[in-house]
């Protein structure tokens, strides 16, 4: 009863002094813009991807009779499908690319990174729904709530209210309710619009589960902001002091902490530079190739004249298989280092909830590093399938004369043996399971903020 009354009065005040409409409206406009941009981008890239994927595979199937190894050098391209929720959180997609060239000898990384093509202005900050909610929503909470207690303390209305026998806790619930209602007024339309966009582009219930999980994560995050802001406001002697403290916390949390934690993470779990990684990989591959050629083919010279041409199919297989393990080891170590860095960021969410939410949001949207890894692994499996088929074919058609190796030509039957690449992303349940840590960190942050606010509301006399 009291909490509802307080919430109603608080809401009326927020509405009448114009703050709610101005700040909330601004955030709503930004959210709508981000959503529209995300939707438009997703639709165009997805259409391009589908077309390119189909064309590329058709080209593969339609190859004329030719030497299989030539075909493998031409290779195939696979295109990473845009997950439906990339509308909301594009995650690391702009930085890691969407296309992999599957060709012989070499495991490739993704190419075509939008960030590479971006102009200076685009680099400045890509507007996404996730960014607005992660960075600007707490600022909105601060603008609406910094004076919730401190302002009333200055005005003297806090004394008036508490003299009536209202408990500080009810005051807290009322104020929290009003803030949440004010935020819902502007954030719910955005959630509904996002739901509509996801509904238009997604097939199946998976995207809905992911959207629901995202709403839960962002809900916890915003509740942390609400109770954190109310606690600071309850402890501050003046609303000016509350505002200064809150803005300082926001700046530290939104700009300094992510950078500092990411530096710390790469210091503790170093990942090699691209150049160093490639150098090491090349070096180890060379060693592995040399040993395999010596042990299994009895020669020191790779692809040299010492090996009769009728054994080149077999050599291809030996060469590939020697490379697979080394690649797996190097890419595995690199990706594990990234995963460890990520884990540290998630734990840092205990102090800066933004970090946990960022990981959780990308994870559930399917645009985080583990989604990238999952896709890269699937693509590499496809490449190895292609390689193995071709080596097997070359072994089966080894030239009995010994010098006609390059005259052999395979036909369409072989091309068709390489199946169409159908990528299936992990399910919503698996994505949630992989991100339970950050969800737990957010839930902990919520409980901590709640207890802090309850304590703060009661500890100071008016």
């Amino acid at each position: 009863m009291s909490a509802r009354l307080i919430a109603q009065r608080e809401f009326t005040e927020l509405w009448r002094d114009g703050r709610l409409l101005l700040a909330g409206g601004l955030v709503l406009v930004l959210l709508a813009t981000a959503l529209a941009v995300g939707w438009q981008q997703q639709r165009s890239t997805d259409a391009e991807r589908r077309a390119a994927q189909a064309l590329d595979y058709d080209d593969w199937l339609k190859q004329d009779a030719r030497h299989p190894h030539d075909a493998a050098h031409q290779g195939l391209h696979v295109f990473k499908p845009e997950p439906p929720l990339s509308i909301i959180d594009p995650g690391i997609t702009p930085y890691v690319g969407t296309t992999i060239w599957l060709q012989s000898h070499k495991q490739s990384e993704l190419r075509f990174r939008p960030a590479q093509d971006a102009t200076g202005l685009q680099r400045f900050g890509s507007l996404s729904v996730a960014w607005v909610l992660q960075v600007l929503a707490p600022l909105l909470v601060i603008v609406l709530g910094f004076n919730a207690f401190a302002g009333e303390r200055e005005q003297g209305t806090l004394r008036q209210t508490l003299s009536l026998g209202v408990s500080p806790r009810q005051l807290l619930w009322g104020k929290a309710l009003a803030l949440l209602a004010g935020l819902a007024l502007f954030l719910l339309p955005a959630v509904l619009a996002a739901g509509a966009a996801v509904g238009l582009s997604a097939q199946g219930a998976d995207a809905w589960w992911r959207l629901g999980a995202l709403v839960l994560g962002y809900g916890l995050y915003i509740a942390i902001a609400v109770f954190g802001v109310l606690a600071v406001s309850a402890l501050a002697s003046t609303s000016r002091m509350a505002l200064i403290v809150l803005l300082a916390l926001w700046i530290a949390g939104a700009t300094l902490a992510p950078r500092a934690v990411s530096d710390l993470a790469s210091h503790l779990y170093p990942s090699p530079s691209r150049q160093a990684f490639n150098q090491q990989l090349e070096g180890d591959l060379h060693t592995a190739y040399t040993r395999a050629w010596k042990d299994q083919l009895g020669t020191d010279k790779r692809w040299g004249a010492t090996l009769p041409l009728n054994r080149w199919g077999e050599a291809l297989r030996v060469d590939d298989e020697a490379g697979y393990g080394v690649s797996d080891q190097h890419f595995g170590a690199l990706w594990d280092a990234f995963a460890q860095q990520q884990r540290l960021q998630e734990w840092a969410g205990l102090a800066v909830p933004l970090l946990a939410l960022r990981a959780y949001s990308m994870g559930l949207a399917g645009t985080d590093f583990s989604a990238h890894r999952h896709f890269s692994t699937a693509a590499e499996t496809q490449r190895r399938t292609m390689q193995d088929l071709i080596s097997d074919d070359l072994v089966a058609h080894a030239d009995p004369l010994g010098n006609q190796h390059f005259s052999y030509q395979a036909g369409k039957a072989l091309w068709a043996k390489v199946g169409r690449f159908e990528y299936r992303a992990v399910s919503a349940a698996e994505a949630l399971r992989a991100n339970l840590r950050s969800l737990g960190v957010l839930a902990f942050g919520f409980v901590a903020a709640l207890l802090f606010a309850v304590w703060a509301a009661g500890v100071r006399k008016p």
Partner: protein, 233 residues
Amino acid sequence: MLETVSLSKAFDSTLALDNVSLRVEPGEIYCLLGANGAGKTTLINVFLNFVTPTRGTARVNGVDVTQAPLQTKRDIAYIPEQVMLYGVLSGLENLRYFAALATGTKAPRDELLRLLAQAGLDATAAERRVSTYSKGMRQKVGIAIALAKNAKALLLDEPTSGLDPKAAAEFSQLLRNARDAGVAVLTTTHDLFHAKQTGSRIGIMRQGRLVAELKSADLSHADLEALYLEHMK
């Protein structure tokens, strides 16, 4: 009804209240006189549990205010020297809000308007935002809130400062009505005349101590003034 026993409050090294014991019975108006800083407001704050006593106890209706502050505050209506309200809400909306918080029920509009009229606020002013109000008008809304609460005890901290003489006289009448209805009233004031006119009993405070207690019926206005000045020396 309102009672303190050997109440002391120290702020750092200064004693704002020094061993104060007083009682206000139902149907009694107790006026506390004293210079600024004598401890009158601190005493009121102790009853509201806004200040925790260093020693001694304060009770409302027999209940220690530090033990059950929410319960004791429900028995009290409080009007400060400056009633503080929400500026963007009208007088009527402020009254509706505070009255509902105090009583737990939403009073109908004409009931609220009746209370405002009883407190002396013009009906046309009731719908205006409080940010346009004079101090006296705010004070009247505060009185209406206290009336709505229908409490067993009234705590008043210089309630008539800022009221014009007519409004002050009307306010004194309201106090007497409350007294006749069995309410215990504790009020601080600088106004000796007002104290003599409305008070049943008068206490004089100096440097945190209650230095004199008298029945107002026993002495004339001139006696009171002489006595007060004597104690202030």
